[in-house]
């Protein structure tokens, strides 16, 4: 009986196949199934999100808190030790958060630059034929890559910078002062003529470039070099010298730091919190960058090196002109991830009293009780910095990829 029934169904199935009808059940249809699955996912995700939001609002309502950004306009009334813009406790919370954002930007920006330089040097050193250089680079990478970043930040802060001499007995090396209050370095100071200088320098630079193009064109046409590069540089320098004689001052003043009444005056002071975070972040990220650079260089076909050698290039020249430009294409995408990591890792700055966006944000949360809004502001700041970095690196990447034919 069963057998018969089975046979019957088999027969029916064959019939349907024969007809080539569109009556495939909806759950087996190749077209509809993905759509149903996606829709189901969206519905589930939507419900989850909806539940979380209502749950949050309910919880807030229960303890009598309301969401809103009005608090940002209130007086912050807490001080911040270091700031790129003028700030006093009289300013509103929004400005305090801006100070935090700029501090995060400052440490990330300089961190990315130093990490990149260190990373490229160490990455190339790891490929060096010099035994000592090679092994030192290996040790550097393995030590700093395999210890937690927070621990490294603490070591710089508590074992390196805090035991330095007090500011009154600051260690002086040339124009540099080292103390446990911070390190003071000579720095530029703008004056009334700076704006004019900047404009004229830009004009001079553009005209020098135009001159270079013209002379280069002429050199190609006539086949006789009129030293386009030297000529354009000379014209630029001559313009600057003339301007200096005319105005009697350079574009900026340099001020050297000095210690007066237990504080640094003049120059720029780098706080120990900033230095600890900057150095730790740079070193930690540079180990990853070094590995990326090494991978990038090794990713360039060996034939390129051999060809360069056959043409008589020095190894340093072949690295600079042939290998590295090709390696850059491999390096940039993973490098971008490391830059993003560095930006996000800078949030550890709080541990050594460097007032970044997280440090300031936590204080704001504590003073106002607006936890959720402030956390969202922090998220937005990191999202903004990361996306801006990604965008910039993608443009850079595109430019390098286009060079390839």
């Amino acid at each position: 009986m069963c057998f018969l029934a089975g046979l019957f169904f088999l027969r029916r199935g064959e019939e349907q196949l024969d007809k080539q009808t569109t009556s495939t059940p909806i759950w087996r249809n190749k077209k509809t199934v993905p759509i149903i699955l996606q829709a189901a996912f969206v519905i589930v995700a939507g419900f989850a999100l909806y539940f979380m939001i209502t749950n949050m609002l309910y919880g807030l309502e229960q303890i009598g808190l309301t969401l809103g950004l009005d608090y940002l306009q209130l007086k912050a009334s807490f001080p911040i030790a270091e700031s790129l813009i003028s700030y006093s406790p009289e300013d509103p919370y929004i400005r305090a958060l801006l100070v935090g954002l700029l501090n995060t930007f400052k440490v990330s920006f300089f961190g990315i630059i130093t990490a990149s330089i260190l990373g490229v040097i160490i990455g190339i050193s790891r490929l060096s034929n010099n035994w000592l250089v090679n092994k030192l680079a290996v040790i550097y990478v393995e030590v700093f890559r395999n210890t937690p970043l927070l621990v490294q930040i603490f070591i710089w802060n508590f074992a390196v910078f805090l035991p330095m001499p007090k500011i009154q007995e600051a260690l002086r090396i040339g124009p540099f002062y080292f103390s446990n209050r911070g390190t003071a370095i000579p720095w530029i100071q703008t004056h009334s003529n700076t704006g004019m200088w900047v404009i004229i320098i830009v004009v001079l630079a553009i005209s020098a470039m135009v001159l270079y193009k013209l002379l280069m064109k002429k050199a190609i046409e006539t086949g006789k070099s009129s030293y386009p590069f030297a000529a354009s540089i000379a014209s630029f320098i001559a313009g600057c010298v003339l301007l200096f004689i005319f105005t009697g001052s350079g574009p900026v003043h340099f001020t050297a730091p000095a210690v007066q009444n237990g504080t640094f005056v003049g120059g720029a002071t780098l706080s120990i919190g900033f230095l600890s975070v900057l150095i730790a972040l740079s070193i930690y990220t540079s180990t990853y960058i070094a590995e990326i650079v090494r991978g990038g260089i090794m990713g360039v076909p060996k034939g390129q090196t051999e060809a360069a050698k056959a043409l008589g290039f020095k190894s340093s020249t072949s690295l600079r002109l042939i290998i590295f430009p090709q390696a850059v294409r491999i390096i940039i995408p993973p490098l971008t991830s490391q830059y993003l990591n560095l930006i996000k890792n800078s949030s550890l700055a709080m541990a050594v009293a460097y007032q970044d966006i997280v440090g300031v944000g936590n204080t704001v949360i504590n003073q106002t009780g607006h936890t959720i809004e402030t956390i969202f502001i922090m998220i937005a700041v990191y999202l903004f910095l990361s996306l801006a970095t990604s965008l910039f690196m993608n443009l850079f990447n595109k430019k390098f990829q286009l060079v390839e034919r």
Partner: protein, 356 residues
Amino acid sequence: MKKSLSLFVSILLVLVLALAGCSSKSSSTEEKSAGSKSSKSMLETVKERGTLKAGVNNSLPGFGYIDSDGKNSGFDVDIARAIAAGVLGDANAVEFRPLSATERFTAVQSKEVDVLVRNTTWTTNRDAEVGLSFAPVTFYDGQGIMVPKNSGIKTLKDLEGKTIGVETGTTTELNLADQMKAAGVNYTAQPYDNADAVIAAYESGSIDAWTTDKSGLVSRQSTLKDPEAHVILDATLSKEPLAPAVLDNDEKWKDAVSWIVYALIQAEEFGITSKNVDEFKTSDNPEIQRLLGVGDTNLGEQLGLPNDFAYQVIKQVGNYGEIYDRNLGPDTAFKLDRGQNALYKDGGLLYSIPFR
């Protein structure tokens, strides 16, 4: 292509409808739970759980710290133990949560702790916007500044151009800004995430001075390498009334915590201590009978607490004076004078509302 588009649109429609239906449904459940929220007090939660979760300090000797036996100890810790004794009848039924100054309010808001007893200053803003509710003040304090003895700094004016360490997220951070502005003194404030970091920076000389509540300064001075080499300036920058805090909108729980604190003060006023409390149980004094819940009085019951809650608090933890002397008094390293924290009849500010 067209077909899949229409399908997509119809799915979207279903989604919107489903969400709309869901929102109307959940708003009705919201009403229900909003109605029930007043009935489910933290007091019930704590009783059901059988333990009290208290947010405390773990790095302020005398107030909240880990003692040499590895146990939480200190003035604030004893207040938390008194609350547990009053509510649950067992002073040891406390789960201590160490909190930093910045973590503490979020911990209360998210109900990670039932009560915060962590040298927290009672302020308007915290009472209103931060969503806290404060029990009576357990310690009247004032903000001070510590400097090295050899620095020659005597007054606020001498701090001109100096760097002063503060703990982030504290009232002291704000008071310092106010007071220095009033005094016309330019200074740099260096905020640190926790007290230990401030001390580390201060001891190494990275900062010239540091500020916190005077009791905190006295307490931390005892832990410095050379306590004698540092002085606390005479100037008091602010009023710092330290009080236990609970989540706002829960009157029952706040009342319970408040009256346990009052019981500590009232017991000292009557001279009832942990040693002689049993003798007082047979007292004829109706006021004492009401406090200890003997005879036909039911003040404890009215608060939702056991009738003998004050007896348990006094028996297991002691009265206010005993707690003070044990943690901060003449026999301890701090030797803090009672000062403002004496009973009102001794010239202090402590005053219990009558138990009636």
